[in-house]
Subunit: 138 residues, 6 copies
């Protein structure tokens, strides 16, 4: 079993804000991340698949095909988007925290990878150079 990771990037705006809460509650919980006018990040996404290298090609999966899949199913929707408003597969009202984004991206890609012999193993998402989350599907 070998693990293969592809790194992609996207830039997006978001804010953390619970609609049912007062402004005070939101600011107390989310601080500057609750700025009504949004803020944003350069996200770095690591997608890891696992499998046996093919005995002829040496590939678990063609990494260029993996890159295309990630772009088509995730990055093309998230890049230069507003994560609270623009992305059909982020449920309305779900906070676009790095934790929740990792799970949402996992769900998109585990679906997209079904036709392939390898399995999705991990999503790692950097929000800034000091914050990242990881999700392994359970």
């Amino acid at each position: 079993m070998v693990y293969l990771t592809r790194v992609e990037r996207f830039n997006a705006a978001h804010k953390l804000w619970v609609e049912d809460w007062t402004e005070e509650q939101n600011l107390a919980t989310f601080g500057k991340c609750a700025n009504k006018n949004w803020h944003g990040h350069n996200y770095t996404l690591h997608v890891t698949v696992k499998g046996k290298p093919d005995p002829i090609t040496g590939f678990i999966m063609d990494v260029k095909k993996l890159s295309v899949l990630i772009k088509e199913h995730v990055v093309d929707y998230l890049d230069h988007s507003n994560l609270n408003l623009d992305v059909p597969f982020i449920p309305k009202g779900m906070q676009p925290t790095t934790e929740n984004l990792a799970v949402v991206i996992w769900n998109r890609l585990s679906e997209a990878l079904k036709p392939y012999p390898c399995q999705l193993h991990a999503i790692k998402l950097w929000e800034t150079e000091t914050i990242y989350t990881e999700y392994y599907g359970e």
Copy 2:
């Protein structure tokens, strides 16, 4: 003459959009950067001052003081902000491109550094890991 650089970071939302233009013109010129709902970046800012090291302290300027100055005059305004809407010293209607931001930051800091014996030498601003601008005051 020795050059001393301090690196700081801020995360912000913005869009590129000329009010007097149609949506078609804006999209043709700015592409995804014209998304009405904003997008954002992790910016990395290098501020370089130059001067003679003090013969006793070995400092051109105390780098912690330089860090405080950059935060007070620039980063505290820009971090977790919307660059089009929230920042008093970014003129309304000025596109918040990396080029323009570098000049605006220069102007703020050359003012703030006047009481100090060293001189501002350069502003370098990374918008993504593949784009940066530099400004030397002229």
Copy 3:
């Protein structure tokens, strides 16, 4: 289960030196790391906690609170310190290797994180850009 990591940094001096050994033994074992006058490093510390994202906030734990905890319990003691002499929770005579530091930091933070619903998962400590250790509590 989602994993959330916060990265912090500290700069410190240390040496590797066994008091019961001769200088020859120390130099033979530790080489330049046994320099009597110390040397030092910029350490980069990754602290990973795991848990379920809160359904309202989307947080495993507020990453700013995690950052404050790491600073209060670890970084404020280690930053600009001498790891052999200055740190109350590093036992005298324990070599401040990256291996031992990772365990000591784990012990401090697993204690500090007890009141929180998430669990400490991993400590990763970079000593230089080519050396790091990881500890998972067992």
Copy 4:
């Protein structure tokens, strides 16, 4: 159990090309990686060993010894080499993909580490800044 990682680097040429296939098949499968005249990469290799820190030295293994082992058994053969032609322990006809290289490097180093009390835990191999593989020996 603590994990210790040493990072080493090597630069090499390679191509992906199945001898039994036509040029069309090779180009369809490997794209630009099938360029007959080769291309190359700066590889970054992480070697992780695990064990208990020695109670006196605080070492799982002397990281300088680990570095020497990696160089002697792996990097000295791979650095400035052609991975298809020059390396005795890469079987002829095996595609030098990052997946296969990780396994080959594991096999070399798990052998070389046998005399040491620690165990090889992981090989992580970066081919570019957006592609890496990992292998844990099974």
Copy 5:
């Protein structure tokens, strides 16, 4: 005058070898870089243009257009190539050192940028993480 830089990457094989010299001379001068079977690198290329930001768009030059130009005139030729054999604008017999590549890339891009109001300012080319060259056109 503001400076705008775009970073692009390419991976290539090369060797340093003077045809008129004996193998001994080549190995004495170029060491492992003279390996007959080639070696390779991941190159990172910084292209800097300078000019006045447009008062409406805030652009010196649309950085996406700059990226397309660099790809069309430089990267599409160099990526996954053999720098000694495959590149029409690298003169036969010219050593593909980082120094010479920087000059060749400058010449290609200063030509390509002629129709644009900004000027080419600098080429910076990283060959490994410890070696880079810069060229300013004179």
Copy 6:
């Protein structure tokens, strides 16, 4: 004129402390950097030389020779040293600030490079990932 840079690294301890001052003065000026028991850093050093690439070899200077020179004249003295106590070419009482170190390293290397046809152009010294200095010899 092409510029060639070699990057080297060293790890060292130091403190900032003026002997003629009281402890209060030292702490007021240097803060945590005045810790009597020292602290330390991983320094990253960029050495830039300039010249014309040799028409045959394509070299301004053999970068491996440049690396050897930097090690012999600078890094072998500074690595795993105490910058206040151990380095013969750092004058006693001179504060080992990044500013002063850049000048001292320039002086060492401009001397060492005299026999070579290229000229020393710049010293750039990173003390942490947010602080660096540059010196151009005047």
